[in-house]
């Protein structure tokens, strides 16, 4: 069986795990191409207008996989990845949202295991074993073996990220986000690039932002370079704990960066109409101001133009360069 994994949303977080798990169970895995104009515009056409641009792109990726003739689409329902927390509501409803258009778009069958660790830690292991039994007829030991190799693949990936490599260097078929030229190391500024992996590493959605920043003299600091548990701990400094895991990572990163003065400036990428980001934006901007770290919020959507983006980041980097010289 050929299973398609859309190169979108949680792909950037969990691809090594999912891919190893599915191939370990005897499936062939195919990912959709890098986001491109066709994928995005098709997604925009079928998705509900008010959704954020990464979710719209997800629809387009599903259609691209359909065109490649996969036998099934892997759209897990990632409800929660840790106790007492959720992911974004849109990930909770994603299989149903795609399911609602599956008929009219003639999508292949959807594989939608429900992963929920909200009540009990490690619950997802059992949920994935159920999935392995129901969909692939695997016995307990076989499923455990597939899970174990998936876990190791994911760990290797995360170790690579912690070493400062970018998801796109580690994930298959990446040529995006590579700078053509970089200023010498002593002339670079440390820029924290904040935001969801599915936005900042999607070179099409963010107009090759990573490469552009590096070409302009940024030494990038990324949330993924810090261990998840360290980020979580850094994010506890609020009167009420955030209940969105991925946003909590972002909060942890800004707290850490500002407190330890790890960056000279921060570029915060958020998708238009992103629910969780619309709220934590207030806290993030407050935090940066408190520690006197310049921060630029960059909102993206399907209409974002290249020229506007370049002008804004150029101005921001210029400002940082001048700030350092003045001081």
């Amino acid at each position: 069986m050929r299973i398609g994994i859309p190169r979108s949303l949680l792909y950037y977080k969990y691809l090594p795990f999912w891919k190893t798990f599915l191939t370990g169970m005897g499936a062939e895995v195919e990912t959709s191409p890098l986001t491109n104009k066709k994928i995005l515009s098709r997604g925009v056409e079928v998705a509900e207008n008010e959704l954020c641009v990464p979710v719209k792109a997800f629809y387009g990726h599903c259609m691209a996989l359909r065109d490649n003739g996969v036998d099934a689409l892997f759209v897990p329902r990632v409800v929660s990845v840790e106790e007492r927390a959720y992911t974004c509501p849109k990930f909770l409803g994603l299989p149903d949202m795609i399911g609602a258009v599956a008929g009219s778009l003639e999508l292949p069958p959807l594989l939608t295991p429900r992963l929920n660790q909200r009540e009990k830690p490690r619950e997802f292991k059992l949920q994935l074993m159920d999935f392995a039994r129901e969909q692939f007829g695997l016995r307990r030991l076989e499923a455990l073996a597939a899970l174990e190799s998936a876990r190791l693949a994911q760990r290797r990936y995360q170790e690579g990220l912690a070493g400062g490599r970018k998801p796109l260097d580690l994930l298959p078929a990446s040529r995006f986000n590579t700078p053509r030229w970089r200023p010498p190391a002593e002339k670079r500024k440390r820029i924290g690039l904040l935001g969801h992996p599915y936005n900042i590493y999607d070179g099409y959605l963010t107009q090759n932002l990573i490469a552009r920043l590096e070409e302009m003299g940024a030494e990038l600091v990324l949330p993924e370079m810090t261990d998840h548990n360290v980020l979580m701990k850094a994010a506890t400094d609020v009167p009420k704990q955030l209940y969105w895991t991925y946003e909590k990572e972002i909060m942890g990163a800004i707290n850490l960066w500002t407190e330890k003065q790890m960056v000279d400036g921060v570029v915060y990428v958020l998708a238009f109409a992103c629910g969780p980001d619309s709220l934590i934006q207030v806290l993030i901007e407050h935090r940066a101001k408190l520690h006197n770290i310049p921060l630029m919020s960059l909102t993206i959507d399907e209409h974002s133009g290249e020229a506007g983006l370049i002008t804004r980041i150029e101005a921001f980097i210029d400002m940082l360069m001048r700030k350092k010289t003045a001081a």
Partner: protein
Amino acid sequence: MRISAPQMGNLHIMLDDLFGRLGVEYVQPPPSSTKTLQLGAKHSPEFACLPLKINIGNFIEALEVGADTLVMAGGHGPCRFGYYGIVEERILRDLGYDFRFIMLEPFSDGVWAFYKVFESLSPGLSIRKLWKILKISFSKARAIDRLHKRALQLRAYEANRGDTTRALHGAEEIMAAAHTAEEIEAAASESMAVIEAVERDSGRDVLRIGIVGEFYLLLEPFSNFGLEETLGQMGVYLERSVWVTDWIAPNSNNVIYGYPKKTIEKKAEPFLDQNVGGEGRETIGSLVNFAEMGFDGVIQLLPFGCMPENIATSIIPRVQQEHDIPVLTLAFDEQTGRAGMVTRVEAFLDLLEARRRNRPGAALKPGTAASA
């Protein structure tokens, strides 16, 4: 201490009653107005949802008329609402206001923490006394919800336009004055009689529409330009899926709405088999529910960008394929105008009337709904 909380529908009547019993002075924020919304939108993040923006406006106006303590409800996600309080406090502090801020987490998240909040407002309060106070305040609020539900049904038949709304205001005043359990019981039947006494044209053939969606938009008439009253006066019989007391009740039997949460979730299951926060799943379940009851159509209300409702909106076309019911989705933000909304609603009513005419045996008398 002068305490205040955001405006939402008839919540202030309940809060006034509750804080009165606790011996705390309650400051009702000035009724939400265009100025409230402008103030709120100015100081809120651009794509925060509309309720947050109105809340901020309410809080600023309450602080300006002398409130020194602000209360906000909490929650545990995944909808944004549960984190509103933290962000609202930050925004107001950054504006330079000085106040005490209280986040009231739901009863189900911990009875002790819930009690401690009230104990801090009213020192020496025992759990038993708090329980009694909540119970009696709640019974009053529930009676008020019943009045509103009846008004939504009867307004379509009123002989003189505006009578139901006037009767409702009178009925609410009767309820507000009631204090003891006996008084509340007597006031409940007296006020209901006021609503029932409105002169009706019972022979009128009316359209039946279900209102579903996000709770703030459904409960706060300011946020939806008084859509329910407008529809009622156009001769539409309304049922609504969300009520204040159903929302805050510790159980989930939805006494006012009439359909327990479980039943509604079951109806949503074939289309949306997951709680996605807010009222996302309830919107789908209630849509199915109204379709099964043979309603002519359903209107979904949501703040622009509301995550749970956007999920529901994405799924509605599939529900419609199976249940054949027209749905009008209306999203609101600070840019929305009343005229645009009314035009869309009128067109929707025309469509519903035409559908009735084309359905054998269910003809609507000419010119009764939209043109009334």
